[in-house]
């Protein structure tokens, strides 16, 4: 049987044994490490982990050091999901053949990757893993930009954000295209579980991760990961920005079971205007010029419309 941690409060959570060490090179205020700890702390089971090339990878396994107290592999930018899928296949083979060294264990296979490595370059590999039904969990650390290489746009970068390859300028408001709806695409594979999580709602996250570990088959998790460097906010404000993202419904928290059943898992008591979320980040600063204020209005309309859509889907159970 799987062994899930029984976590009652934040103190218990923050002091539980860690398999991801604080000794890493991530920026102060980076949400990646918070998310990774929340995922790993959701289980006491053994872990086989991968990271695709990106911030998490380059900051946590610089030879001769490692921040990981669990088996971990990095191959390339696009194939972290397939790396753990390969390991999971070997686990199944050796289990069948009776060659596991510790046959009583119940390992969990998790790949971590950024939005660039998931929405863009690793898209096909993840789709393949989801379609084939590997018993793995893919977690996107979604900071909506290629942060490791210095802030280039990805297909997760939202409209109006200034990225280094879609910069705001004298005649441009920055990124022109809307964020790719990755959760829907992944859910459409018919996988048992897909969910959107945020590190500020840690109980919601742990619950979803534990559910993900309990199902048989591939799991897709999209975690919002505010990036102090590229979103341009003070490192002390990471959780504040995350609160703004979930409470403005820019980043709604929900789950999709078996590709069909959508459940909203967090309903803010006081929904705050999207404008407040945008205003807190340097990457959207230019939107507050008079000529671009219409974009803020459009942002609000888009968020409202998406929230209405999610509620309709939840109500209709499709």
């Amino acid at each position: 049987m799987s062994e899930m941690k029984n976590i009652k409060n934040l103190k218990e959570f923050s002091t539980s044994a860690d398999r991801f060490e604080g000794a890493n090179l991530l920026c102060p205020g980076c949400a990646h490490s918070i998310i990774v700890r929340e995922v790993l702390n959701a289980t006491n089971d053994d872990l086989i982990l991968s990271a695709s090339t990106g911030c998490l990878e380059v900051c946590t396994a610089v030879y001769p050091y490692t921040s990981w107290d669990a088996s971990w592999i990095h191959i390339g930018f696009e194939n972290g999901s397939t790396a753990v899928a390969g390991a999971e296949s070997m686990y199944k083979a050796l289990k069948k053949k009776g060659r596991l060294k510790q046959p009583d264990r119940n390992p969990k296979f998790v790949s971590f990757a950024g939005d660039g490595a998931s929405y863009d370059i690793g898209f096909q590999w993840i789709s393949g893993c989801m379609e084939r039904g590997h018993n793995i969990m893919h977690v996107v650390l979604d900071n909506e930009v290629y942060a490791n290489t210095g802030g280039q746009r990805s297909s997760s970068t939202p409209i109006g954000s200034s990225a280094t390859t879609s910069p705001a300028g004298r005649v441009s408001y920055g990124e022109k295209k809307n964020k790719k709806d990755m959760i829907s695409i992944m859910a459409a594979h018919g996988i048992p579980y897909a969910a959107q999580v945020a590190p500020n709602k840690w109980k919601d996250m742990v619950k979803k991760i534990q559910h993900g570990f309990s199902v048989d088959g591939p799991v897709f998790i999209n975690a919002i990961s505010p990036c102090t460097t590229e979103w341009k906010f003070d490192p002390k404000d990471t959780m504040h920005i995350t609160d703004l993202s979930t409470d403005s419904l820019v980043f709604p928290l929900y789950e999709i079971i078996d590709g069909r059943e959508l459940n909203i898992t967090y309903r803010p008591k006081n929904v705050i205007p999207v404008e407040e979320y945008l205003a807190a980040q340097g990457r959207f600063k230019h939107l507050f010029k008079d000529e671009y204020k219409y974009l803020i209005k459009e942002w609000q309309e888009r968020v409202d419309s998406n929230w209405a859509y999610l509620q309709r889907r939840e109500e209709s159970r499709v």
Binding site: I48, S71, G86, S89, M90, W125
Partner: protein, 407 residues
């Protein structure tokens, strides 16, 4: 164990693909992650059929690209078990990124490469472009000339690759269609003997040993990258050849079939010889024998181990010959050709620096005929008689239009 053994006749009529698939079955691979591509597809189809019929117990993962195939193989090998796959041409090219990752991570994976041309223009037939593309990737590369070799060299590949002193992945090359789809008599090993030669997989730094977590595929910059690469090169240069020789020796005891790092044919008193790879070796041997009847003392040197390159074995094989032709079956695209360069390098500091000329042939599956080789051997004899290379150093054989010659 929940799989059945297969009764084989002493000699089966197999093509190179099926021979490779049978060898993979007999090695009891734990994970095969694969993607189909002509002409290697029948290897993984054959393996899938063995699985469907209960002759294989491992996991067979049919992925969505060759890049994913090798990525899955890397994850599986790092987890700790026997891993193999097959590919050709464009698929091989798509894999290239992961080939370097597999070897750099020191993971023993066996890759059957059924050689095929590289586009553009698109072509499904056999040449050595993909094989040449892999030559700096840090893999061991063995070359089969016929279905029998394709079968036997798979056992050698697992044996050497998985040796804890080696731990480097290994390619087994065979020529697309000429070997892969040409059925010939193949002397078999019974399942127990074959598996006994390769032995049980012995894990090392396996991710699935939960008591000893490991980190694979770290970041190294200018501080450590060079040392890692140097060590890998060192092991290829110093450790691999003795292991291959030992595996060849052991295999000969078992099967009576003798393989050599460099395959010499009539080289003892040869004045002229060709150096080539793949199916061309057999054609060249036949022509060399005929040339002797015409008074030209011809020999053939076949490269069996492409990487690590048999520098000293080549120099030894060519120490008494007077004129050499290297046959490259891949467009050098602006250079003399891989074999030309490697052979020149092997001989440069030796007492015998025979007359050396290079030939480019057979691109996209164009036949190398006996007539081509007859005129080639005669050309070499002219060089011997003249005491110099009488042609340009690089010539194209069998291509339409005016003669192409360079250098």
């Amino acid at each position: 164990m929940a799989f059945d053994k297969m009764e084989l006749r002493d000699i089966e009529v197999w093509d190179g693909n099926f021979a490779a698939a049978q060898a993979m079955r007999q090695c009891q691979i734990d994970v095969v992650a694969a993607y189909p591509i002509t002409p290697s597809t029948p290897i993984v189809e054959g393996y899938a059929q063995f699985l469907a019929d209960g002759y294989v117990e491992g996991e067979f993962v049919m992925v969505e690209s060759e890049h994913a195939a090798m990525s899955g193989c890397i994850g599986a090998a790092a987890a700790g078990g026997r891993v193999a796959t097959a590919t050709s041409s464009q698929g091989f090219a798509l894999m290239v990124e992961t080939l370097y990752q597999a070897s750099g991570m020191r993971l023993p994976i066996v890759l059957n490469v059924v050689n095929r041309a590289l586009a553009a223009p698109l072509n499904v037939n056999g040449d050595h472009s993909d094989m040449y593309l892999g030559r700096d990737s840090g893999w061991i590369q063995l070359d089969a000339y016929c279905p029998q070799d394709a079968y036997d060299l798979n056992f050698i590949a697992f044996k050497v690759s998985e040796d804890h002193e080696v731990r480097l992945p290994c390619m087994v090359h065979q020529d697309g269609f000429m070997t892969s789809h040409t059925a010939q008599g193949v002397h078999t090993l019974d399942d127990d003997t074959a598996y006994g030669f390769v032995g049980d997989y012995k894990p090392m730094n396996d991710m699935l040993d939960f008591e000893h977590p490991v980190t694979h595929g770290v970041q190294t910059e200018e501080d450590w990258h060079f040392e890692h690469k140097a060590r890998q090169h060192n092991d290829l240069m110093t450790k691999v050849m003795p292991k291959i020789q030992a595996a060849f020796d052991g295999f000969e005891k078992l099967s009576g079939r003798k393989y050599n790092i460099v395959e010499k044919y009539d080289m003892d008193d040869a004045d002229v010889c060709v150096v080539c790879m793949g199916t061309s070796v057999e054609t060249a041997r036949e022509v060399a024998t005929e040339m002797r009847k015409e008074g030209i003392k011809a020999g053939v040197v076949g490269i069996r181990v492409i990487r690590p390159f048999p520098f000293f074995q080549i120099a030894e094989a060519l120490k008494d010959v007077k004129a050499i032709a290297t046959l490259d079956r891949s467009s050098p695209n602006g250079a003399p050709g891989m074999l030309f360069n490697e052979i020149a390098g092997s001989l440069y500091n030796t007492p015998n620096r025979a007359l050396l000329s290079g030939y480019v042939y057979g691109l996209g599956g164009r036949d190398l005929t006996k007539a081509h080789l007859v005129s080639l051997f005669k050309e070499l004899q002219v060089n011997v008689d003249a005491g110099k290379v009488t042609t340009q150093l690089q010539q194209f054989i069998g291509v339409r239009g005016p003669k192409l010659a360079y250098l």
